[in-house]
């Protein structure tokens, strides 16, 4: 006989979170300690020193008395112990304690800040506080989690989602972190756009910044310069179109031609993932810059005066097209392969010629893929920061403009916020336009039944130009990458072309000394930081992504669509916007993490989460739902099912998500550039710094090293994924039966 959960009076999960709450309140330092990962505080005056004291000790010493009401939230659940889950009182107690505790923490966290009261009305009502508080630390964090999960247990006990504690807690957890790290910063940024210089709010400030001629000017139509918003939009549309067309061309070559080196083309897809985006820009400078090899060659042979044509729209366009075409290819290859061959075969038997089949069946069925590829190219171009910085010249775009508004001499948060809003508006607009364009038509062609047909080859009239363009572009890409490597071993480009390893030595030298290795190279600090941050962020990204994917594919609950929108939103938010909003939101309590490694980790998690979610959804929809259901009918609960059935079967997806987020964390720049600090400098921002000092050699050497490090990581992961092939074969044979 199966033990009945609903009649048990011992609840291990409840007990766990009650204890966690008490530990957070009574044992751990309530406020943030200097460095999250060090434990100096243990010997440095803990538990009485007010910097390190747990909440209970603070209150005991008569300080920070506003923390006391949270204690109520910790006492209430004790009454629920020993009761059955089915008792209405059990649910009521937990919901009350969770709401009181969590609500109070938010309320006091936002009203009392680093200068005492945050709001004038609070000061007016309660008088001067004479005290202040800092950002949340271990204790506050654990306490808040405890309240949250007490609340979800209470809601579960009331019978929501069949009383499933795991699912409800997961939903609650994801909602809270997405709210805290996506919606809250964005909202904070929006309000920052209205703040006047003396701290008040005014729509006029926003209007004056928003309608600035630098933003929307149309001077370029009459020979002058256009506003940055138009510049960005024009560039992004161009890049989106070109990368989509080129991506489609490559996808067609791989799936529908007799071309023999398809594997080589597929390898292209790895490139953008492992290349820091601005590296392409550097390589272009080496080729086409004032002293670039091609420029010099033409100057010598034809006597053409070298120009700075590269700096501006042409340069950024070429660099971004090079960088993002493989992304479009990656999207389109799946779609082009996904068009069911039997549809094309059916069209052929209906007397359509190859060209007609392509035009009337294949191409329309690829529409969602084309829209997706365009959207990706558009967003990536909008968000790209490195290439415009390196190649922009006088062609200003939003992302660089935002950067200079924040870090430059002007230091104008409001302006940065307004610019970021425009950027966000464009990307979200594109996001919606895509949905609108695709409409409600169904493009599903995979019927689930075995499809034994083969894709027809392209009509000859199409295949020749397609192959030619693909070859030229692939060749160009190869040259660009060769330049990157070559540039790293040249003494001083264009001036002294001797081969040397000097840049590598400057960056990565080390000495063997007594007591170990001394990392004397200039790049080591940022290199190790990058590795550390990426290694911490990757598993967290994978976990959050997969749990979200599980909720989206396997559970149904009220508000699921809004939930999905929220989690996918950060996909449409450019990194630059994330960067700006994070520094605006997280340099003051209650979440005070600017300048720490945590803010980098957090930004990576939410930048890369949508990819983890997508990967998880893709592979989870391959898993027959009856597997979960049979596990449930065999007596496992949803957590046990998740851990013992779904996770083991998702190993390839988990690894892919891990690799992707690790590598992305190493190559990202747009958000990172705002969030790094002296202590936590990342490889990419270090390289950009070198570029700004015209130290190209070192920058390129460092970039090359990064590319090789990441190639190694990807290769090792591929090996591991390759070994789990058995798992994949089995799932396939299962779906065949």
């Amino acid at each position: 006989m199966r033990p009945l959960v609903s009649e048990r009076t011992a609840h291990p999960v409840l007990i766990f979170w009650i204890i966690a709450g008490w530990v957070g309140f009574f044992l751990l330092p309530w406020y943030g300690v200097e460095d999250f990962f060090t434990f100096e505080w243990l010997i440095d005056g803990y538990p009485f020193d007010t910097d390190y004291a747990p909440a209970a000790f603070l209150i005991g010493q008569g300080e920070k008395l506003w923390l006391a009401p949270a204690l109520l939230g910790l006492l209430l659940p004790l009454l629920a112990l020993g009761r059955r889950r089915t008792e209405p009182l059990y649910a009521k107690l937990l919901i009350l304690s969770g709401t009181v505790g969590f609500g109070w923490m938010i309320l006091q966290g936002f009203t009392i800040g680093i200068r005492g009261w945050n709001f004038d009305w609070a000061r007016a009502m309660f008088g001067d506080l004479g005290d202040r508080q800092f950002g949340m630390g271990y204790g506050a964090l654990i306490c808040a989690s405890a309240f949250l999960f007490l609340l979800t247990q209470g809601i579960a006990a009331r019978g929501a989602i069949n009383g499933d504690v795991f699912v409800l807690s997961a939903i609650g957890g994801v909602i809270v972190i997405v709210t805290a790290f996506v919606f809250f910063p964005i909202a904070k940024m929006l309000t920052a756009a209205f703040i006047t210089e003396d701290g008040g709010y005014s729509a006029g400030v926003f209007a004056s910044k928003f309608f600035d001629d630098r933003l929307w000017g149309l001077g370029c139509l009459s020979g002058g310069r256009c506003g940055v918003a138009w510049n960005s939009l024009f560039l992004a549309v161009l890049v989106g179109l070109i990368t989509t067309v080129l991506g489609l061309i490559f996808a067609l070559v791989v799936t529908r031609s007799g071309f023999r080196f398809k594997k080589g083309l597929r390898a292209l897809t790895v490139l953008p993932i492992i290349t820091p985006p601005f590296v392409i820009g550097l390589a272009l400078i080496l080729l086409f810059g004032l002293s670039g090899s091609v420029t010099v060659f033409f100057a010598d042979v034809f006597g053409v005066q070298p120009t700075r044509w590269l700096y501006g729209l042409p340069g950024i366009l070429i660099a971004q097209t090079l960088a993002f075409t493989p992304i479009a290819f990656l999207v389109l290859i799946g779609v082009v392969e996904g068009v069911s061959p039997s549809m094309e075969e059916a069209a052929q038997t209906l007397r359509a010629s190859k060209w007609q089949v392509f035009k009337t069946v294949s191409l329309p069925l690829m529409r969602p893929g084309l829209a997706n590829a365009f959207l990706l190219g558009f967003i990536e171009s909008m968000a790209d920061f490195g290439n415009p910085l390196v190649l922009g010249g006088n062609y200003d775009v939003l992302s660089t403009e935002i950067f200079f508004a924040i870090v430059g001499a002007q230091y104008d948060q409001g302006k940065a916020a307004v610019l970021a809003m425009v950027l966000l508006f464009f990307t979200l607009g594109a996001f919606y336009a895509q949905r609108f364009w695709l409409g409600k038509k169904s493009y599903t062609t995979v019927s689930g039944k075995g499809d034994s047909g083969v894709h027809p080859h392209m009509p000859r009239a199409l295949s020749l130009p397609v192959l030619a363009i693909a070859m030229i572009w692939a060749g160009f890409t190869a040259v660009v990458y060769a330049m990157i490597f070559y540039g790293s071993v040249v003494e001083l480009w264009g001036v002294n072309n001797n081969l040397t390893f000097k840049h590598y030595v400057t960056a990565f030298s080390f000495r063997l000394e007594e007591g170990g290795i001394r990392w004397s190279g200039a790049a080591w600090d940022s290199f190790w930081t990058t590795l550390k941050i990426a290694a911490i962020a990757a598993p967290l990204t994978a976990i959050v992504g997969l749990i979200t994917a599980y909720l989206l594919t396997r559970q149904s609950f009220a508000g699921k669509n809004a939930f999905e929108f929220g989690t996918m939103l950060s996909f449409a938010i450019p990194g630059t916007v994330i960067g700006v909003s994070y520094i605006l939101a997280f340099n003051v309590p209650p979440i005070e993490i600017t300048g720490t490694g945590i803010i980098l980790v957090v930004s990576f998690i939410f930048r890369n989460m949508p990819v983890g979610v997508r990967a998880g959804i893709a592979s989870m929809s391959q898993l027959d739902k009856s597997l979960d259901e049979s596990s449930l009918t065999l007596g496992a609960n949803s957590w046990q099912t998740f851990r013992r059935i779904i996770l083991p079967l998702l190993r390839p997806a988990i690894l892919a998500a891990l690799v992707y987020s690790f590598v992305r964390a190493m190559t990202a720049i747009s958000a990172v550039i705002f969030l790094v600090s002296a202590e936590y400098d990342m490889a990419t921002s270090y390289i950009i710094g070198r570029v700004e000092n015209n130290d190209y050699g070192l920058a390129i050497a460092y970039s090359t090293t990064l590319i090789f490090v990441m190639l190694t990581v990807v290769a090792v992961m591929q090996l591991i994924v390759g070994r789990t092939e058995i798992g994949r074969r089995m799932t396939q044979s299962r779906t065949n039966v």
Binding site: P3, S626, L627, T633, R734, V737
Partner: protein, 356 residues
């Protein structure tokens, strides 16, 4: 120690299941499934039979009404907490676990210690004749063997109710007969309560103690296989269980339990089933039409098809076409032949007019 049965009855009271806001999958059904019986839910696709099964399992929650298993109200209990196990159409064997691990999976959550889990799992495998396969992966078994593993996995938990969701649909025709006999044998030997979903009426007739015929989210008829076949309640059931020719007729007089009817000018006597004088329909199985009878309706042979063991005929009568079969393959009727078709003494039943 051996695998026992904790068979319990299942009771549905006014159960309704609505998906979203207005898709009614199951509409206000009442039924009683006795302990130790094998009951089949039968019906065309979309009739709500699988939803009904999943509500017993706890994979779907009833929108209205109550469900009892044994003497416990399980309406609000999720699948994990119900003492029910299920054999899925796709078997849903965990591909990353061996046969043994699959069969032990549920025992691990039921409070058995390691050695007992092992013993019980081994016994379950023994019961389905797969003792030697315990270290294989599901992908290394044939379809029929996978099916038996799925049965063993469900059986070892000694559930109050064992559910089968179209368990034979992935097997080839020959294996189907064998496996369904095995399932029936195990069910009878252990005295299990089994609820079985299928859309194959022959399968339902072969395995069931009782059949629940479903139509449009409701129950069309409940009865033993014989009842349903010989005395269908209406046209839908008559047509769904075995083929039936529905022939319009007139009840000319009632004499006690018997009715005298007129079919296309031919008189016939059969049980009245409570009907009164007037128009009615007559359901006749293709085997119950007597070809070349002494007296009967005049028909013309439209099509004659030889299918090996018998002849199949489409006959044209005054009221329309009927379908008949004949064991006589040696001297088949010729197309366009005019014949006299009589009705068997047993078999044809009266149906109320205009139903279904």
């Amino acid at each position: 120690m051996s695998i026992n049965s904790k068979a319990a009855p299942v009771r549905f009271r006014n159960v309704t299941k609505v998906y979203g806001t207005d898709v009614v999958a199951v509409d206000n059904i009442d039924m009683e499934i006795e302990a130790g019986k094998l009951v089949t839910l039968l019906g065309p696709s979309g009739c709500g039979k699988t939803t009904t099964l999943r509500m017993i399992a706890g994979l779907e929650m009833a929108t209205k009404g109550s469900i009892h298993i044994g003497d416990r109200d399980v309406t609000l209990l999720p699948a994990t907490d119900r003492d029910v196990s299920m054999v899925f159409q796709s078997y849903a064997l965990f591909p990353h676990m061996t046969v043994m691990e699959n069969v032990s999976y549920g025992l691990g959550f039921s409070g058995f210690d390691k050695s007992e889990t092992r013993d019980r799992a081994a016994q379950g495998l023994d019961l389905v004749g797969l003792k030697e396969y315990e270290d294989r992966l599901p992908s290394e078994l044939s379809g029929g063997q996978q099916q038996r593993v799925a049965v063993a996995r469900a059986l070892v938990l000694e559930p109050q109710v064992l559910l089968f969701d179209e368990p034979l649909s992935n097997l080839d025709a020959k294996l189907r007969r064998q496996v369904r006999e095995e399932i029936r044998e195990i069910q009878q030997n252990l005295g299990l309560t089994v609820v079985y979903v299928t859309h194959d009426q022959e399968e339902a007739l072969a395995v069931s103690d009782e059949i629940v015929v479903m139509r449009n989210a409701g129950i069309a008829q409940i009865g033993s296989p014989r009842d349903l076949y010989d005395a269908p309640a209406d046209r839908f059931v008559a047509d769904f269980i075995g083929e039936a020719n529905i022939i319009p007729c007139q009840i000319t007089s009632i004499d006690g339990d018997m009715a005298l009817i007129d079919v296309d000018g031919f008189p016939h006597t059969l049980p009245a089933r409570g009907m009164t004088v007037g128009s009615a329909s007559l359901a006749v199985r293709p085997t119950r039409l007597m070809l070349n009878a002494q007296t009967g309706m005049n028909m013309r042979v439209r099509k004659a098809t030889y299918v090996g063991s018998r002849m199949e005929y489409t006959l044209k009568a005054g009221f329309g076409e009927v379908f008949a079969v004949s064991e006589n393959v040696d001297a088949p009727l010729q197309v366009d032949a005019q014949i006299t078709v009589g009705l068997d003494k047993n078999g044809p039943v009266l149906l109320p007019e205009d139903h279904g």
